[in-house]
């Protein structure tokens, strides 16, 4: 590949250069997913930086956590939107 090769899109370039520290594995994310989903839905100040960083860099885990938040919210009469907004707040 040379410098004259076709360019990546901006979005893809940023995903490739995304900082994914603090490190969290997909297995760790799965282990913490239920606790974090409930925290997002029920505690406005709750946060888990490692989870949010991981979700920003792993579309599969992001889809699954968003889905869990939506399902638990729906079954408990809660609004998922604020929780999902906090999940995807910039990690700084």
């Amino acid at each position: 590949m040379t410098h004259d090769s076709p360019r990546l899109t901006e979005q893809t370039a940023r995903l490739l250069a995304l900082r994914t520290d603090p490190w969290l594995s997909c297995e760790d994310c799965f282990d913490r997913m239920d606790t974090f989903a409930e925290a997002l839905l029920t505690r406005p100040g709750a946060d888990d930086l490692a989870m949010r960083v991981h979700v920003a860099g792993c579309p599969a885990c992001a889809e699954e956590l968003e889905s869990l938040v939506e399902l638990v919210a729906r079954e408990n009469g809660l609004d998922a939107a604020p929780a999902l907004r906090r999940l995807h707040e910039p990690v700084g």
């Binding site: 590949m1 410098h3 090769s5 076709p6 360019r7 990546l8 899109t9 901006e10 893809t12 370039a13 940023r14 995903l15 490739l16 250069a17 995304l18 900082r19 994914t20 520290d21 490190w23 594995s25 997909c26 297995e27 799965f30 997913m33 239920d34 606790t35 989903a37 409930e38 925290a39 839905l41 029920t42 505690r43 406005p44 100040g45 709750a46 860099g57 792993c58 579309p59 599969a60 889809e63 699954e64 889905s67 869990l68 939506e70 399902l71 638990v72 079954e75 408990n76 009469g77 809660l78 910039p90 990690v91 700084g92």
Partner: protein, 234 residues
């Protein structure tokens, strides 16, 4: 602990839709009835059989929810098998859950903990179905396409993209480059790529994590990232 769970009288096992009230004390959620789930599932007998049936129904509910979220990924032929896919995912999730029953620590409600198994199983199965029969090329650098003319504000971003492309070429191992390009450029689902490469989702994500660190170090050395910056280009 001020968390209030809507109970349903003297039920031994909880319904799926007991309510979570917002918390403001920062403490963990607990579900007293979760102990009944775990204890009941451990002891063979009619109560366990009943609990398993209820749990399978919960798994189906969550799997159906997940399949519906992702049904846009399925081809028309697969849409006819949505119920079959849902049931298969629920079966797999129930087996996975029972294998990990001893790891449930009560940090969330049992149903929330259970749902995640079904969501994972269903999402993975939808991704596999949506990519079945599709080739996953692992050339590593041949799919880096030109995005075409973009807004003026992307001039700097194009500089970053050029720098990232150079970093892919110069900073990564062949394996890291193949994995990073497949996952993020070609957008091959991580479960699908893991299947094709005979590895695990976790191993691929670690490879991607390491690749990103190398890309960032390359970009930092080239002046495109500040050492303390988390995501941004200069």
């Amino acid at each position: 602990m001020t968390q209030e769970l809507a109970s349903e009288g003297t039920r031994v096992l909880p319904a799926a839709a007991t309510s979570l009230a917002p918390l403001d004390d920062g403490g963990p959620l607990t579900d007293d009835e979760a102990l009944d789930w775990v204890a009941t599932l451990r002891v063979p007998g009619p109560e366990r059989d009943r609990a398993l049936a209820m749990l399978h129904a919960l798994m189906e509910r969550a799997a159906r929810h997940q399949v519906r979220r992702m049904r846009h990924l399925l081809r028309p032929a697969d849409l006819a098998t949505v119920e079959e896919l849902t049931t298969a995912a629920a079966d797999g999730a129930l087996a996975a859950l029972l294998g990990k029953l001893d790891t449930f620590e009560g940090r969330s409600r049992f149903t929330t903990w259970a749902y995640k198994f079904a969501i994972l199983e269903a999402a993975t199965e939808v991704r596999r179905r949506s990519w079945s029969g599709r080739e996953v090329s692992l050339d590593g650098d041949e799919r880096l396409t030109d995005p075409g003319p973009g807004p003026e504000q992307l001039v700097l971003a194009h500089d970053l993209a050029d720098a990232v492309r150079l970093a892919l070429d110069e900073a990564l191992t062949d394996h890291q480059r193949r994995v990073a390009v497949a996952l993020l450029v070609e957008q091959v689902p991580i479960d699908v790529l893991a299947d094709r490469l005979g590895t695990t989702r976790g191993a691929l994500y670690k490879t991607l994590h390491d690749a990103r660190r190398r890309i960032r170090a390359h970009l930092t050395a080239a002046g495109y990232l500040f050492p303390t910056s988390r995501t941004g280009a200069r």
